[in-house]
């Protein structure tokens, strides 16, 4: 009987501690990184697509993997051409 009580006294705080730790894991609060749904491009009406449109070109680059990966600070390190530099007040 004493052993059972001791078991509960140890198991219950351990369970509470585990659940608390899970709830405060920073990863729980991070947005899941979405991957581009490139399959949706195949379902688009290709006859209405303008391949010279920058939106279309950007989607193609993203889905063909030319956009490469994101850096840890959330800004990409794309291989795409660097835009011209501007400095403003």
């Amino acid at each position: 009987m004493k052993r059972h009580l001791l078991l509960y006294l140890i198991a219950l705080p351990a369970l509470v501690l585990t659940l608390t730790a899970q709830a405060h894991d920073p990863k729980e609060h991070m947005n899941e990184k979405q991957t581009p749904d490139c399959a949706a491009m195949k379902e688009m009406d290709h006859s209405k697509m303008n391949m010279n449109d920058p939106v279309m070109q950007a989607m193609m680059q993203k889905c063909m993997g030319k956009d490469t990966k994101m850096s840890s600070d959330g800004h990409d390190e794309a291989e795409v051409k660097e835009p011209a530099k501007h400095k403003h007040k």
Binding site: T35, P36, A40, A58, K62, K69, D76
Partner: protein
């Protein structure tokens, strides 16, 4: 006699102005003005604040030089991922009409997927978008993104905003999604 009347008039006006100032100060200290975001401004207050905001931004942004290469895939991709991370919770995505933020924010943030602010010349609109993103707007939920972001990153956002209203949900998803590592 004319000068005596004039002096009396000046005195009356000064007393009236003094009373108005004192009344204003008394009102401020009374705590009677409702500050809750769920209590909307009167039409007059709204007009004053909106006109003040629009004129101030228009003047401050007039000398900004707009890059010639805004409409490029590179800028759209970079601006897209930043928009999803920094802006979409308030300014929405093509498949969303509201979020928890938009329900409670006052003034309500503009839905940038639906309309552009009416600034006439598109170049003026680009300048004003850039200025607003960089400097934010006092007394609203719009923060200044200038600290921590380069001008190039802000121009990328402007480039994305220009095309956002015409994006379908599928196009938006692809442009804003991150490529897995």
């Amino acid at each position: 006699m004319v000068s005596f009347g004039f002096v009396r008039c000046i005195k009356c006006l000064s007393v009236a102005a003094g009373l108005m100032v004192l009344t204003g100060i008394a009102f401020i200290y009374s705590g009677l003005y409702p500050m809750g975001a769920d209590n909307q401004h009167t039409k007059l207050t709204f007009w004053v604040l909106e006109t003040l905001r629009e004129r101030s931004i228009s003047r401050a942004a007039q000398d900004i030089e707009v890059p010639l290469d805004l409409d490029t895939p590179a800028r759209l991709l970079r601006g897209g991922s930043d928009y999803a991370a920094m802006c979409a919770s308030c300014h929405l995505a093509p498949d969303k009409n509201e979020t928890d933020f938009t329900k409670g924010l006052y003034p309500k943030p503009p839905n940038l997927t639906m309309t552009h602010l009416d600034h006439g010349d598109p170049k003026d609109q680009d300048k004003q978008y850039f200025w607003i993103i960089k400097h934010g707007i006092k007394g609203s939920g719009m923060p200044a993104w200038g600290p921590g972001h380069t001008d190039e990153q802000i121009w990328n956002l402007v480039a994305f905003l220009k095309r956002l209203p015409e994006l379908t949900p599928a196009q938006y998803q692809i442009l804003t999604a991150n490529v897995p590592e």
